[in-house]
């Protein structure tokens, strides 16, 4: 919006702000919309997106609440209002914070450890046949083993402590990261390496300034899988037990045992929200770090879809 010589005009030059409401011949909500937010404004398109995205969940919640109020639901299905009340109570008492912190700490530490090792060893295996000779067969052999199967072993060694949880999350996150990094490196255009060497880059510079950024899109794909798995494993390890009685998974299993279904659903909502938020965070990070490659990818797709 700019302040021109002839008074206030919107950026697109339309004067919707001063026009009066047209007659209600068409959908009145749409017209009200257009009246409040000039056509083509960014805010309007965002709002429309939000309305579309929320339409189904809000309707479902409303029906759910109606059914609950009418007393049609069994006791193990708490109403949305009860869940909401429980969420507020949990937040206000500070209890939620304790459980959330414990869960986030375990999954973040596990993810960092597993992804760090996976990406590091994967990248090294990609550039060095000798390193690959050590790790590639080992990974192939252990990859199909369900990682939860290792949890009892870890519990015997470390108890139902944070350490066993962090380790099982790390082991789970290692695989997708290792595989993505290894194949990311193998897909690097050798011409980029030639060009780098032509410009006088030393081997370590070729690695950090060509191989790593070139493999980054695939590494991010692996990280995204690992992130989802970290939450799955966090939950799985916490419902098996928690030595200090903390964690969202523990909250759920504890609520279940005492028949507190509103509390159980509240914890599930928090896990879902945390997962969603961290995935969005990762995508934002990816968008920021891989701008050039994402543009190339988008153009490539646009050219080949026509």
């Amino acid at each position: 919006m700019t302040l021109g010589r002839h008074g206030i005009t919107t950026r697109s030059g339309s004067k919707k702000l001063s026009t009066s409401l047209p007659t209600a011949s068409r959908s009145s909500t749409r017209l009200l919309f257009a009246w409040i937010y000039p056509a083509g404004s960014r805010f309007q398109s965002r709002l429309r997106w939000l309305v579309q995205a929320l339409a189904v969940p809000v309707t479902a919640l409303a029906l759910w609440q109606l059914a609950a109020s009418a007393g049609w639901l069994p006791s193990f299905l708490a109403s949305p209002l009860a869940i909401g009340q429980q969420l507020v109570a949990l937040t206000l008492s500070g209890e939620l914070m304790v459980h959330m912190q414990a869960s986030l700490y375990r999954s973040a530490a596990g993810l960092a450890l597993g992804a760090g090792c996976g990406i590091g060893l994967g990248l090294l295996s990609g550039v060095s046949a000798r390193v690959a000779g050590f790790f590639d067969p080992l990974v192939s052999l252990t990859y199909p083993v369900p990682k939860v199967a290792v949890l009892p072993v870890l519990i015997v060694w470390f108890g139902i402590s944070d350490i066993s949880k962090i380790l099982i999350i790390a082991i789970t996150c290692f695989y997708p990261c290792f595989i993505a990094a290894l194949y990311g490196v193998r897909a690097v255009d050798p011409l980029w390496v030639w060009a780098a060497r032509n410009m006088g880059a030393r081997p370590h510079q070729v690695f950090f300034k060509v191989v790593v950024p070139a493999a980054a899109p695939q590494v991010f794909a692996g990280l995204r899988v690992a992130l989802a798995l970290a939450y799955v494993m966090m939950f799985a390890s916490e419902i098996i037990g928690s030595s200090n009685r903390t964690g969202l998974g523990f909250l759920i299993i504890n609520a279940d045992a005492s028949g507190r279904f509103d509390l159980m659903f509240a914890a599930i909502v928090v896990i879902a929200l945390l997962g969603f938020a961290s995935d969005r965070l990762l995508l934002a990070l990816r968008r920021r770090l891989l701008t050039g490659q994402l543009i190339a990818e988008e153009l490539h797709r646009a050219q080949h879809s026509t």
Binding site: D189, W192, N198, M199, Q205, P213, I295
Partner: protein, 261 residues
Amino acid sequence: MAIVEVSQLSKVYLRGNSRVDAIQDVSLVVEDGEFVTIVGPSGCGKSTFLHILGGFIPPSGGTMRVAGHQVRGPGPDRGMLFQDLALFPWCTVLGNAAWALEVQGKPREERIAIAERYLDLVGLLPFKHAYPAELSGGMKQRVALARLLAFDPAVLLMDEPFGALDAQTRELMQEELQRIWLQTRKTVLFVTHDIEEAVYLGDRVVVFTARPGRIKEVVTIDLHRPRELEIKKDLQFVQYRNRIWDLLREEFLRSRQGVTA
């Protein structure tokens, strides 16, 4: 002063029991500041010759010296412009142009100043914050050229750089390259399959034979510079073109016989 001295260079590929002679007994001396173009039938090993000079492929025999030094691998004294450009898609235009200076450890301000100077020379300074994917084919060529010039190689090795461009853009890039070359006076070895391009750009045109690639003839192009694009219609230009075309036709026929035999 001779800057590139190639003597009896050969390259043989052995695959199992089969033996392919890519190039054979190639000797060439290029003077400092000279623009030499190389033409030949496809598959004659002209690109292989350039890659050997760049140090990416080891030769099977012969010697090559650039600025008095034996070639022993890739190095920034011989800047290569690849056919596929090999721009880094994760770097901006400016990042690409300054990349070589960055790995050489030049301070940030200095490398940005140098990169901007060469982006200005190729006319792409307004696009310095764009990514390669956002540019057209001709613009990408200019970025690759600026990246090459920015690290100041003694010799520029260009492997069919305009091969993928449409006809009009290609002609404009030829004119542009001549303008930049007249300003920088670098030594250039330029491989192409386009005879007009070779005559238009070159001080000398090296004609390769069909495989195994040998130097068939070196034609000195005695046309004034700067050459306008209209020069391609001049009688003298057309005579040069026809002469090289005749030389090449013999090779095309010979390579075809080789295939049918």
